[in-house]
Symmetry: C2
Subunit: 142 residues, 2 copies
DNA sequence: TTTCTTTTGCAACCAGGTTGCAGAAGCGTA
DNA sequence: TACGCTTCTGCAACCTGGTTGCAAAAGAAA
């Protein structure tokens, strides 16, 4: 595991390696932070939106990517750093910059200590911190 | 402050007390957890969606309510327990039940310890825990 | 090749949110 | 009470992102 070859990653997971899937995965691998379906649409104008949509669902089912709601209106995704072998604890937090609209993965910068009320069962976490990112906070405003 | 009379709450904040605003605020006061624009639409079929929409914006600007994205597709709102005087620290967490689709306010059940990377400035938090609520977890499945 | 299964592209649809605008309502003043 | 100005409402239209049904294309198997 921890493959680098796309074809092997797909075949390990039993995913058929089609042209759109390879293009989409190649795009995803280049992203250091999060991306949306619309970002992929722009990057791959010859691939249909619905194909991208279904591919993202497929990738998420196989834990190749994670998804999150950052309040921007569009679902955001990020590459799973553990290629389908992420553990339950990988509930990492994200930062949404209200100025440049970029969403960053914060891997270990935020710790949470959760005690749920009796009877509540946690499956996922969607933890978004909103504010101004480092690049935008350095700029002088006006 | 900590008023109970709707008309006084509005006049304290300089909000004109119109019929739709009173109806909407009365609805909101009855809710123990979160609600959406669509919930209000259903409860008040004679009030237009855009009026409800603009009223929610107004209420949030005056900190009468908080809003959050719970991933359900619809923005959720909850009554501010401090009537417009909530402090920055009131970043409470919410729980979304994936079975009954209800979103609960978790006031003190989850603590977070956040250390952002250098240069990042936090303004808000959108912290949603997803899973199964107590009512739904007690039910025998099938 | 033929046949069967999976995947794709297109077009249409949907939900929730958002906007421009004309008329209604509210309010201060005469 | 009537007038003039400002704010608010309802309606209809629009927008964006997401979702679906379906026929054609591509892939795998025989
Ligand atoms: Mn992961
Ligand atoms: Mn509050
Ligand atoms: Zn930024
Ligand atoms: Zn539930």
């Amino acid at each position: 595991m921890k493959q680098d070859n796309i074809l092997e990653i797909f075949s390990d997971l039993g995913i058929r390696a089609t042209t759109p899937r390879i293009l989409i995965y190649e795009y995803i691998k280049l992203q250091s932070d999060t991306f949306s379906l619309g970002d992929i649409e722009n990057a791959l104008p010859d691939t249909d939106k619905s194909t991208i949509f279904r591919t993202l669902i497929l990738f998420e089912e196989h834990h190749l990517i994670h998804s999150m709601e950052d309040g921007s209106g569009a679902m955001k995704y990020c590459l799973c750093r553990n290629q389908g072998e992420c553990e339950e604890e990988e509930f990492h937090c994200h930062f949404y910059c209200e100025k440049c609209k970029k969403t960053y993965c914060l891997d270990n910068q935020a710790s949470t200590n959760i005690t749920l009320p009796k009877g509540f069962i946690m499956n996922h976490i969607n933890f978004i911190i909103k504010g101004i990112c480092d690049k935008c906070s350095h700029k002088t405003d006006i």
